[in-house]
Symmetry: C2
Subunit: 218 residues, 2 copies
DNA sequence: CGAGAAGATGACCGGGGGGTCATGTTGTGC
DNA sequence: GCACAACATGACCCCCCGGTCATCTTCTCG
């Protein structure tokens, strides 16, 4: 380890291409969703297809690298809002943030939507995020901002649902989700209403329980 | 036209295969969504791929034929509920019906989700359905069952959204959507709340305004 | 500047999609 | 029962996907 630069020095054009690639992939995934082709991404980055696979062995690796950025940013937001005074406001702000991300990135919707075929990193990041949302929700519940039988999993699920509600309007009215977030949040308050007809959903766990991440020493 | 049977008599095995095909396609689309392959559908029907294309020139034709069945049934339900006394209850029942259909048929979700690349029949059927939902909603609004600034388009959009909310739980808890329908409906009531932050969405029109269906004589 | 290694390239592969068509098969009217 | 039209079949076409690799280019270090 020779101080600043690592032992193996990356070539200048390599790091340049990697940057171009990440930028192009971020944009392409956001616009087109996970089904955008590697060829398209390569074109938008101005490199050949082989170069993409040199930097990211599989499409999943590339997708995971980009999703991790999004998830990390969202996690930071959630973690910061955990320190807010008004827990109800914080929860609603977080939901707005999450829905905004979903509206701006089709690939993010796709990844959140189907838990299959994803990198372990991504799955764990989602789980961490869910944990933080659970805390956010618990605080809102204690402060009476939402009814007592609402869980963090409800909130996580509602993120995708509210975005989906406003999705057909995305082109013409990009802010329409605010309307449906308000409706949903009014439903979450709903003081004096009878108990909800279905029990609270079990917590979503993306990382499979086979002990991939947490070595339980068995 | 020679009474019961048409001038050109269809062969017995042909109508048999057509029936098998429609059954298989209905099931396959419901289970796998619109991306299920024509080969798969042919296999499940017990016929060769060419036979599928003999009965339905393109995949879109087959999909449209099956979606029309669903839409017609849903339209009948909506039309019947229009005659109910309790308009709020009727609206909620209709939403439950629609969400149940979405939960049971992946292709239905896909078709409703993306308005592009669809048959004109399907688009018109969806528009007709939207009109009826508008009526259902107007009655509920007049009876005070939902707040005054809720439109039929809100309801249509919420159908997809509520289903999407419960979708990750579909395998383990197929009825979970009831919970989120209750939350959303509480939000739709929400007496004494401030006005919603975003104006009511414009009515969704699937049939393009180029005058394909309604000859506006221009 | 020269040598060598790291990187970039795009033709190529196997798989799977929707759709076609020459050929073989079968139901039907006379 | 015969002849013919309607029908069924599956090999085939073209396209696009993710991924590979022999070949060529370019950066870097001495």
């Amino acid at each position: 380890m020779s101080g600043r630069t690592a032992a193996v020095q990356a070539r200048a054009d390599s790091v340049r291409n990697r940057r171009l690639l990440l930028r192009a992939a971020t944009e392409a995934f956001a616009e087109c969703g996970v089904d955008v082709s590697m060829h398209t991404i390569a074109q938008r980055a101005g490199v050949a297809k082989g170069t993409v696979f040199r930097h990211f062995p599989t499409k999943d690796d590339l997708l995971a690298a980009i999703m991790m950025q999004l998830l990390d940013r969202l996690f930071e937001t959630a973690d910061r809002l955990l320190r807010a005074d008004d827990a109800g406001r914080a929860l609603k702000d977080f939901m707005g943030h999450g829905i905004g991300l979903l509206a701006a990135d089709r690939a993010f919707c796709d990844v959140i939507g189907k838990p299959s075929l994803q990198h372990a990193d991504v799955r764990e990041a989602i789980d961490r995020l869910c944990d933080t949302v659970e805390d956010l929700t618990a605080r809102a519940r204690e402060q009476g901002a939402v009814r007592g039988d609402i869980t963090g999993t409800d909130i996580v699920l509602l993120l995708g649902g509210i975005h989906q509600t406003a999705r057909p309007l995305l082109d013409r009215e990009p802010q329409a989700w605010e309307r449906f977030l308000e409706i949903a949040f009014d439903g979450l308050r709903a003081r004096g209403r009878p108990a909800l007809p279905h029990p609270p959903p079990a917590q979503l766990r993306m990382a499979d329980p086979s002990g991939v991440s947490a070595p339980t020493k068995t």
